[in-house]
Amino acid sequence: MEPSLSPVQITHERPAVEADIVCVGFGPATGGFLTTLSRELLNPDGTPAFESPSAPGLPLQVLCYERADDLGFGVSGAVTKARGIRASFPDLDPAAIPMAAHVTREKLVYLLDPIGASRRSPGVRAADRLVRLFRARNHAVELPWTPGFLHKKDGLILSIGQFNQWVAGQVLGAAQLWPGTPVREALVEGDAVVGVRLMDQGTDKQGAPTADFMPGIDVRAALTVVADGPVGAVGRQLDERFGMPPGHRRHDWAVGMKMVVDLPEGVDLPAGTVLHTLGYPEPEIFGFLYVHPDRVVSLGIFVPSSFADPARTAYRYLQHWMLHPYLWRYLEGGRLRSWGAKSLQESGRRGEPFLAGGGYARIGEGSGSTNVLTGSGVDEAWTTGVLLAESVVELLVAAKPFTRENLEQTYVARRRTSWVEREGRIAGRARDGFHRGFVSGMVGMGLAGLTRGRIAVSGKPKRMPALEDYYRGRIAAADLDRIRQECNASATPLHDALMDHAGWPAIPFDGQLLISHQDALLLGGKVQAPAGYADHVVFRDPHLCEACASKVCIELCSGEALTPGPAGVPLFDREKCVHCGVCLWNCARANPDEPEGGNIAFLAGAGGLHSAEN
């Protein structure tokens, strides 16, 4: 089926409302935007500082629509320097934000492979031998020195879910925040965005109206603030409509998968502790563990797009990572509180779209603000929202419209002189080396960081290899064929069978932390899918799926929402989808109309993760 962003054929009248500013998505960027803007909307005597053109006599009408069921259901295991956040809240007391803690100590840990199943290059094996000779304890070594650009000194450990919830409480009086209300698309007239259209409700999975159909309303506004993240439907619609600036591409991605865990009694990890790991379960996979107050930790891994395993699975790798002796000594006996996953746009500034156009502006991760060298995104996203709000106020005071020219002279100009831009440029090529391999990648990052971006190791992304190529020498072709047939017959992904075959031990489920992927969805993610919305994952050309032998989309799907289908086209189960968007950048088949894209359309959708602790 060919997905379309054009309206479904309906006979019902589509209503429209007028507002002044409409925001798409509520995350740190929108938080920064609304926090800054809300302080300027009223005079000290309580009268409106700016009268609403759309509702004369009232203050500026600012709306924000968020897909998730609540504003605190965002995902990120965040440690941040919080420079921008602190600038917005100079007297910030972390105790006011549940789960927040000051960073007190940081460690970077190299993890050896304690079981011999990790796929390690000769260079990595040489490094392993060297480490084992010297100081390895618990199959790991804590690096004695880490470069300054990796530090989060004086920063904060946050639960982004809790942080979002807290910020929402600060701004609600000045803006209307509507969770559970996905935006289907931007309304584009000529070269300008004039508002948004919300998703139709009361449809079947294909989007056809049912008996209780309610067309998504059009919200027309002078300014549309697009902050729907790296895989948001509106941001990508604008990318397709207006293109990307010359030379800008979104080649680099990662999936971050995390858990929130109650540590067992007796484990003494001080709140504010930050652990980052590298080297295991595969060299390309980085890990993190951040300690919140009350013996609660956020932990997880990042699986990057440069990790060229066509059967890569974040969940199984996350469990092996937790079981590493260096970490398991803390985690054994712990209990899962929450679980989640999200895509990270790791092209950084080189994936920056046009930041503004007629009637719209882009902020947050989808605007290319993530710093891929320092591994920092929350504070950068927040700051882009602040910069836009300052620009909006400047234009309101000058009674100037939100045209492309005016937004470029204010918002884009502020971005160009900001620390987000300055540091983003240094980070620009920092991760290119990972396309050559782990060692090249680490060297490249180090060089880029130490030379402030002047030197880096080059490398270009490659298409995913075939399973046979990746597992050559480890799994015989005949065994691969058999595994593939068995998994197709049982409609299960390949990754568990392949990892078992490659020497990874079975996970010793304990029913409280080491649990099945589906239990993580239900117990940790609390995933929800309200009825009456169309499916948001659509396969553009079924023939391409039928001919695809890899089906990376199934293997890396964070919620096992994609499973083998009888005719070769994967089946999509919306009730398991966490909206991480990983399928979008893990399609092994090129889209004939857009060679850099895949065969999967990731449209606007409802529901997803329902946990407030991620």
Partner: protein
């Protein structure tokens, strides 16, 4: 046929039951671990009452719906972001504890006082709605106390359906045991109905309704009157039922197949024990 009703729905917030809920005894009595950080939802029983109120009001166009809520103001504010898109109402907020362990009589008196303070309330049109239970604990008496305080003697509990005939009299289905309903007739308002689940689906999010509601919701929250309700009885311990999870995802099964599957599982459990 009556021209309109004045429907007052009593309902407050409870912690989102989908979150990780761990009971503990706090300094002020029973509580949940990390309770401040838990997102809240409108009590599911009260939600049914609100949807039924909106449905009834839509049939009698001059009707009006109020939602009287006693709960922490910040939580009420958060919940309004979700509820206000589903039904048209005016909120009357009381800033206080929504814990299920507060004294039901004191809560009932506070709600009744708030209702009595509604300007131009007409008892000949007045229907008090609420949940017959609560997801926060469910003493099951708060709504009755509200009715007693207001002097409303026609009270119905476990209501699943309300119809209004051409004379304005009310026909009410109350739950009995064994899937049976008792049919009651009432001459008309004032009456109090404690709703079970009703029969209406959760309304769709209507952004227009939300925008209209928000013009009154935020001012109402800002002027929320502080209310203190005491803890009532003391509790030595509070626990949730022990859960054992064994997940299998099965789809598109008939109700008979689902029932058979559950029975087989229960039998297995019995054999193990």
């Amino acid at each position: 046929m009556p021209e309109s009703f004045q429907i007052v729905v009593c309902g407050s917030v409870v912690p989102d039951p989908l979150q990780t809920l761990t009971p503990e005894i706090g300094p002020n009595g029973p509580a949940l671990k990390n309770e401040p950080m838990l997102p809240a939802v409108l009590d599911p029983w009260a939600s049914h009452a609100l949807y039924e109120a909106a449905h009834l009001a839509a049939q009698f166009p001059c009707s009006k719906v109020w939602l009287v809520s006693l709960g922490p103001k910040a939580k009420l504010q958060q919940v309004m972001m979700t509820v206000a898109q589903k039904a048209a109402f005016e909120v009357i907020a009381l800033d206080g504890s929504a814990s299920g362990f507060t004294d039901a009589a004191e809560t009932g008196v506070a709600l009744a006082e708030a209702i009595q303070a509604i300007p131009d309330l007409d008892r000949s049109k007045l229907l008090i709605f609420g949940g017959w239970e609560s997801a926060s604990r469910g003493a099951g008496v708060t709504l009755q106390v509200v009715g007693e305080e207001l002097g409303i003697v026609d009270q119905f509990q476990g209501v699943d359906e309300l119809t209004v005939d051409s004379t304005g009299s009310l026909r009410i289905l109350e739950r009995l045991e064994g899937g049976q309903h008792q049919v009651s007739a009432c001459a008309g308002p004032p009456a109090l109905l404690g709703w079970a689940t009703g029969h209406l689906p959760e309304p769709r999010n209507n952004p227009q309704t939300g925008m209209a509601n928000m013009r009154t919701v935020m001012p109402a929250l800002q002027r929320a009157k502080p209310v203190t309700v005491s803890a009532g009885a003391s509790y030595s311990a509070v626990t949730l039922p022990r859960q054992q999870r064994e997940t299998r995802i099965l789809k598109d099964l008939s109700s008979d197949q689902v029932a058979a599957d559950i029975i087989a599982w229960l039998k297995d459990e019995n054999r193990d024990s």
